[in-house]
Amino acid sequence: MSVILVFLLVIAGFAGWWLSHQRLMTKPWLEQGVAEDFVPFDRSGLPTAKIGLGVFLAVVGCLFALFTSAYFMRMALSDWQPLPMPRLLWLNTGMLVLSSIALQCASVAARKRQMDTVRLGLVAAGLTAIAFLIGQLMAWRDLTADGYFLASNPANSFFYLITGMHGLHIVGGLVGLSRTTAGAWNGARPERLRLSVELCAMYWHFLLFVWLAIFALLAGWAATFIDICRQLLT
C-alpha cells in the first residue's frame, strides 16, 4: 500500500498548502465586516471547470495509484511470471505523445484565436488518440495470440486490467474531445472554446503521464527502480 500512501501524501501536500492560505488560525468571531479587508487569498482565480477537472484527476490518480499498490502486493507472491512487453507499445506511446502535443498546440492556438490551427490540433489529437487505442487493442491481440491469456498469470491479468482501465479513460476523454471539436466547427464562443480546449489538453497530459507511469510499471522498470532505491537506503 506504499504507492497509494505516497500518492495521498502528495495530495495532502496540496491540501495543506491550500489550507495554509485559509487562515485557519484566525479567530473568526473577532472579524466582522466584509472579508476582503482581511482575506487576500480566498477563492482561486482559475476557472471553476479547471478546478473541477483537477479534483477529478486527483481521483483518477488515486485509482491508478491503488492499482499500482495492488500490483506490487500481488507481485510479491510466488506465482508471478512477468510477460514480455509487445514492441507495439512503444509506437502507441509515441502516438499518445503526439496526441498530447497536438492538443497543446491547439490550446496555444486557442489563446491566440487561430481557429484553423485549433481545428487541426483537435482533429490530430483525436486521430492519434484513436490510433493509440487501436494500437493497444492490437497489443492485446498479439499477446493473446502468443498465449498470454488474461487468467493464466496475475502479471497478465494486471496488464490487461490496467491498460484496459487507462484505455477506458481515453475513451471518456474522446467524448469530451469530440464535443470540443464540434464546438470548434460550430462557432462556439472563443473564450468558451479556449477553456474546453485547455481542459482537454490538461486531461490528455495527465493521461499521458499515467500511461508513462503504468508503462514503466508493467515493463518492470518501476520495480527495478524501487529495488535500487531500497538498496541505496539500506
Binding site: 497509494i4 484566525t26 468571531w29 480566498d42 479534483v55 486490467l161
Partner: protein, 589 residues
C-alpha cells in the same frame, strides 16, 4: 460600521452570476432537474426507500436471532443474504447517499451562499447513476439464487464460491456492478460538493466563516473521493476473478472436494483494499454528522459552538488520520503481526481529536440557553450514543484487546452504536431542523417526541446489552447461536428482548415517515427562520427557497456562522449576512 462595499472589489463574475439553468417543463423541473435542492430530495427519497428495505431485513434477522428455529423461511442461507444486504444498504446506499447526496446537495449551496452547485448537469447525472445502482442492487433480490450472502465485507474467497449464497450465481455480480455504479455516480456528485465549497462561496464567506456542517460534508467528500477508488479497484478485480477466472484474490482452493482453477491470489490484498476504503467510510459518515450536530447544538442552545477553530482542525485532522488506520480492522486477519503496533497507535491517536469534538459539544451546552427542541434532543442522543460507541472503539482499536472481541457481537454492537445509531439520530435531528426550510412547515411535535423517545431509548437498549453478548464470546454472523456453549440460557432471553426492542424501534420509524408525509400538508406554518438561526439557508427570501436560492442578489457575508447571544446585540442571534459590528472588545475589522 465599516461595511461600505467598494464596488470594484467584486469577486470573479462566475461566482456571483454563474450560468443558471432554467427548467422549462414539469419534467426538467421535478424529474430531470439540475437544481441541487430537487436532486437532494430525490437522493433522500431514494435513500429512505432503500433504507426501509434494510430496516425490514434487520427485522427478519432479529426474528431469527431472537426466536431461533421459529421461522422456517429464515434458513442460514437467507439469513446471510439479509445481513449482507442490510449492512451494505445501510452503510453505502443509505448513510453515504443521504449525508452527501441528500444533505450535501441541499445544504452546501444554501449555506455557502451559492445559487446552485457548480456543475449542475453532472450533479443530475450523479443522482440518476445512483438510482441505477440502487435498482441493480434491488434486482439481485429477484435474480436466480438471490442476493449475495457474503457479508457486507465481501471477503474473498468465500464471496465468489458455492458455499456462499449468490457466490456462484448472480448475487455477487450484481452487488459488485451496483457498487461500481455507485462509485461512479458518487464521484460525479462529490466533485460538485468539493468544487462548490472551493469556488462557489459568496462574497465574504471565507472558509473560517463556514458552518461546521459544510466543513464536515466538505472534508467527508474529499475523503470519499480518495477512498472510494479503493473499493472500485477491489470490486473490479473481484469481478474479474469471479467472471473471467483471474487470480487477483483467489488462492488455490478446494471447493467441496474439488480443486478450483485459481492459483496464488491473496485474500489479504482484498482486505487491504476494502478497508482502505472501509475505514475512511466510517468517517465519511461520521464527519457530516459531526458538522450537523455542531450546528444543531449551537442553534438550539443559543450559544456559539465552543472552540470553533479546534472543531475545524479536528475535522481536518480526523480526515487525514483516518487514512492511516485501516488495518485495525485486520488485527486478526493474519497480516504481519508487527503492523499491529503501528495501527493500534494511529487508531488511539485519532481518539484525541474525536474526544475534543465531544468536549466542545458538551461545553457548548455549558451556560447556554438550552431549548429542548426535537433537534436538540436528537443531538443529545447523538452525544450519548456516539460517546458510548466511540469508547468501545478504544477496545477494538487497541490491538490486543481486539483479539478476543473481534468478530464477536461486541463488534456488531460497537459499530451499530457509533456508525448506525449515532449518525441516524443526527439525520433525524437534521430532518426536524431543516424540514421547515424544505417544506415551509414544521413537523408534528407530538409525533416527533414520540419518535425521539422510542428511537433513542430503544436503540440504546438494543445495542448496549449486545456488547455483553459479544464479551461472552459469541461470534457475530451466526444464524444460529443455540449451539454455542458460551451462550447461556439467560443470554438467549436477552437476545429475544433485543429483538422485541428492534421491532418497536422500527415501528417508530414508520410513525416518523407518516409524520414526514402528513406534515407537508398539515404541519404548522414555519416562516422563513423558525429556529432564529444565523446561517444563510435561513435567510432566503422565499421558503422553500426558490430556484436560484437567493432571489436577485446573492447575500454578502459579514460574520461567522455562530453569532448567538452576542453581548450588546438586541436579538440573541445575528444572521451571517447582517452588516455591523457587535460585541465586547472586538478588534476593529
Amino acid at each position: 460600521m465599516v461595511d461600505v462595499t467598494p464596488a470594484d472589489a467584486v469577486p470573479p463574475a462566475e461566482v456571483a452570476e454563474m450560468e443558471l439553468y432554467h427548467p422549462h417543463s414539469w419534467w426538467t423541473k421535478y424529474v430531470f432537474s439540475q437544481d441541487a435542492k430537487v436532486i437532494a430530495i430525490q437522493y433522500s427519497a431514494t435513500a429512505t426507500a432503500i433504507g426501509l428495505v434494510a430496516l425490514v431485513l434487520s427485522w427478519l434477522m432479529r426474528l431469527q436471532l431472537g426466536f431461533p428455529g421459529t421461522f422456517d423461511f429464515i434458513t442460514p442461507e437467507a439469513y446471510y443474504q439479509f445481513i449482507t444486504m442490510h449492512g451494505m444498504i445501510m452503510v453505502i446506499y443509505l448513510l453515504t447517499a443521504l449525508f452527501l447526496g441528500g444533505f450535501g446537495n441541499y445544504l452546501i449551496p444554501l449555506m455557502v451562499g451559492a445559487r446552485d452547485m457548480v456543475f449542475p448537469y453532472v450533479n443530475m447525472l450523479s443522482y440518476w447513476i445512483y438510482l441505477l445502482a440502487v435498482l441493480v442492487l434491488v434486482s439481485s433480490f429477484f435474480a436466480p439464487g438471490g442476493p449475495t450472502g457474503a457479508g457486507w465485507t465481501l471477503y474473498p474467497p468465500q464471496a465468489i464460491m458455492t458455499g456462499t449464497p449468490g457466490g456462484q450465481e448472480w448475487g455477487i455480480i450484481l452487488m459488485l456492478v451496483s457498487l461500481i455504479l455507485f462509485i461512479i455516480g458518487f464521484t460525479m456528485g462529490g466533485l460538485n460538493y468539493v468544487v462548490t465549497v472551493l469556488q462557489g462561496r459568496t462574497r465574504g464567506m471565507t472558509m473560517m466563516r463556514l458552518p461546521l456542517t459544510v466543513w464536515g460534508i466538505f472534508t467527508a467528500t474529499v475523503m470519499a473521493l480518495l477512498a472510494f477508488p479503493a473499493l472500485f479497484v477491489a470490486c473490479v478485480m473481484m469481478l474479474l476473478d469471479r467472471v473471467l477466472g483471474t487470480s487477483f484474490f483467489m488462492p488455490a482452493v478446494v471447493e467441496m472436494g474439488e480443486q478450483l482453477q485459481h492459483n496464488g491470489g491473496s485474500p489479504i490484498l482484498f482486505q487491504h483494499l476494502f478497508w482502505f476504503f472501509g475505514h475512511p467510510e466510517v468517517y465519511i459518515v461520521a464527519l457530516p454528522a459531526f458538522g450537523i450536530v455542531s450546528d444543531l447544538i449551537s442553534t438550539h442552545a443559543r450559544k456559539n459552538i465552543f472552540g470553533y477553530r479546534m472543531m475545524v482542525w479536528a475535522i481536518v485532522g480526523i480526515g487525514a488520520l483516518s487514512f492511516v488506520v485501516w488495518a485495525h480492522h485486520m488485527y486478526v486477519s493474519g497480516m504481519h503481526p508487527y503492523f499491529g503496533f503501528f495501527f493500534a497507535t494511529t487508531t488511539l491517536i485519532i481518539a484525541i481529536p474525536t474526544a475534543i469534538k465531544v468536549y466542545n459539544w458538551v461545553l457548548t451546552l455549558w451556560r447556554g440557553d438550552i431549548h429542548l427542541t426535537i433537534p436538540m434532543l436528537f443531538a443529545m442522543a447523538f452525544i450519548v450514543t456516539f460517546v458510548n460507541g466511540g469508547l468501545t472503539g478504544l477496545f477494538l482499536g487497541n490491538v490486543v484487546v481486539d483479539v478476543p472481541l473481534s468478530d464477536t457481537m461486541f463488534v456488531v454492537a460497537h459499530f451499530h452504536m457509533v456508525m448506525g445509531v449515532a449518525p441516524i439520530v443526527v439525520i433525524f435531528g437534521a430532518i426536524y431542523h431543516w424540514y421547515p426550510k424544505v417544506t415551509g412547515r414544521m413537523l408534528n411535535e407530538t409525533l416527533g417526541r414520540f419518535h425521539f423517545w422510542v428511537t433513542f431509548l430503544g436503540a440504546y437498549l438494543i445495542f448496549f446489552p449486545m456488547h455483553y453478548i459479544g464479551l461472552m464470546g459469541v461470534p457475530r454472523r451466526y444464524a444460529e447461536m443455540t449451539d454455542v456453549t458460551v451462550m447461556t440460557e439467560s443470554a438467549h432471553h436477552l437476545n429475544s428482548f433485543i429483538s422485541i426492542m428492534a421491532f418497536i424501534v422500527g415501528f417508530a420509524q414508520i410513525v416518523f415517515l407518516f409524520n414526514l408525509i402528513w406534515s407537508i400538508r398539515h404541519g404548522r406554518e414555519a416562516g422563513g427562520n423558525p429556529w432564529r438561526a444565523t446561517t444563510l439557508e435561513w435567510q432566503t427570501p422565499q421558503t422553500p427557497p426558490a430556484h436560484g436560492n437567493f432571489g436577485k442578489e446573492l447575500p454578502i457575508v459579514y460574520r461567522w456562522a455562530y453569532d448567538y447571544s452576542v453581548p450588546g446585540a438586541k436579538e440573541d442571534f445575528i444572521p451571517q449576512n447582517m452588516p455591523g459590528t457587535f460585541g465586547p472588545s472586538r478588534e476593529p475589522a
